[in-house]
Symmetry: C2
Subunit: 302 residues, 2 copies
């Protein structure tokens, strides 16, 4: 648990069964496939995984099901952030007891206009509450969803106070300039980009890799995008990713990712999302299907 993670990680989608519950067998199979395709690890129950739409109990049970399914805990960094700090502590403790490589922690996201002092106090309470110096905390910055941005001042204070625990940042701002500023300002942290096309620039600037959603659909492509040694070598993967993003653009992201996954893998069981998200309707799916076919993306890439 002392190692910091790096590489090509997948922010996993959460499969649901006919009763709307987390589909454990499908989830385990999916992650095994990701690992077989070269993905280094997974971050379940982030935003892509609709984490906040599942209860504490569901999130705990699903993590245990992944482990019982034979997946290695040191390749799992679950999202454990909640609106209530006490619940973040509980979920994080559980993840650590399960042997996970760390936890991805959102700031408390109900109140808005929270300053660095309030967010510092929240993370400090989580770290002091978890009370375990062997875990690794990855700050989860996704201001377009939380509406609670994390300032450099906050990160600097946390790193100064908890240099061993604060291990990195998942920057899902999709803002390359912000990612580059973080990389310059915090060379001691393992910084991951959420927006796939920024991975090459981030790696070149010392980034630790990516934790991203498209890895669900094309794990091999993300692996190659991460490993490529030159622009020429990475061009096909980058072009693949950019075509896919353009194609998904007209739709709400998580339902579209699930619909594309269902289409590419021929498994309509993946279509279902949790409220408040709404699955793509038949028309949108049909349009998406045509676009995938036309773009040569309709089949799982090797």
């Amino acid at each position: 648990m002392n190692e910091r993670i790096r590489g090509a990680w997948c922010a996993t989608l959460t499969p649901l069964n006919e009763r709307g519950r987390v589909d454990y067998p499908r989830f385990v199979t999916h992650v095994k496939r990701l690992f077989a395709a070269g993905i280094d690890g997974i971050a379940p129950f982030g935003t892509t995984g609709e984490g906040q739409s599942f209860s504490l109990v569901e999130r705990r049970d699903a993590l245990e099901a992944l482990l019982e399914g034979g997946l290695e805990a040191h390749r799992i960094v679950p999202g454990t952030g909640c609106a209530a700090v006490q619940e973040t502590i509980e979920l994080t403790r559980h993840a650590i007891e399960c042997g996970c490589a760390g936890a991805l922690v959102l700031p408390p996201f109900f109140f808005k206009d929270i300053d660095a002092e309030g967010l510092y106090a929240s993370y400090a309470r989580v770290i002091d509450g978890v009370a375990n110096d062997r875990w690794r905390l990855y700050l989860y910055h996704i201001p377009q969803v939380t509406q609670v941005p994390m300032s450099d001042e906050l990160i600097a204070r946390l790193v100064a106070a908890y240099p061993n625990t604060i291990a990195g940042i998942k920057d899902s701002s999709c803002d390359l300039e912000h990612e580059q500023t973080l990389l310059r300002r915090f060379p001691e942290l393992n910084i991951f980009v959420g927006f796939e096309p920024h991975l090459p620039a981030a790696l070149a600037a010392g980034g630790a890799g990516t934790i991203c959603g498209l890895a669900n659909l094309y794990p091999g492509v993300l692996r190659r995008l991460h490993d490529a040694a030159s622009d020429a070598e990475r061009a096909p993967a980058l072009e693949h990713i950019e075509r896919l993003l353009k194609l998904l653009e007209p739709y709400p992201l998580m339902p579209a990712l699930k619909a594309a996954f269902a289409e590419i893998n021929g498994d309509p069981g993946w279509l279902t999302v949790r409220e408040p998200l709404v699955a793509l309707g038949e028309d949108a799916r049909s349009t998406l299907r045509s676009s995938l076919t036309r773009s040569g993306l309709a089949r799982s890439a090797p």
Copy 2:
């Protein structure tokens, strides 16, 4: 439980003890004082009550402590909305089993840009999941905090599908025009304003009353503002409320409400807030103290 609520209700602040836990004895004493001053009922664990900063277990336990303290369940409408619909169902069921007059339910608030269909599906899942036709649901509209507004279209669909369960709306938008539109559009609902100065206009337009934060500080004033039969009669209460709001304006609202409460009631135990909120510092408290004194608001009004 079949009756719909109306009148002057208090969105209670949540007192914390030295260990940062909900202070049950202080909470019970506070609510008894509110009732003695003429407040009709309380809505604990709304935004003023920092509801989202407490775990499910804490919210359940605190409700039970209020009841064990002798408070009547039919005068309590707790906030039971959570980011995850499954947890909203659990908390709501608990409130109903406790005999509460209903529940105040936020929309799922993590994802943004959720359309009426997704919010409808969320509330429908809550109502179907609670599976009890005797409870009353009050929609909780506070878009400046949740960033998830509820459209008229959503409310109309819910009222059409669940006419007995959907009993009202707490409109905390602080937007009089919006409140008046709701009152015109949904005369069958009991609509409460959150912003105290709008209470007279809302009552005149057929509103059911208020569920508000300032009732913590001046329950008698809110009672009189609600009951006044003429502009002349309500002028002193309205002026009192407006002076107080102006005075609190420079500060973050919930910490300032607690600091003002501590000051007015001579009980510094009320200063403490939960992360991510931060209690007012000594300087701010000192300034607030002077302003309260200067405005003649430093003592509990009869």
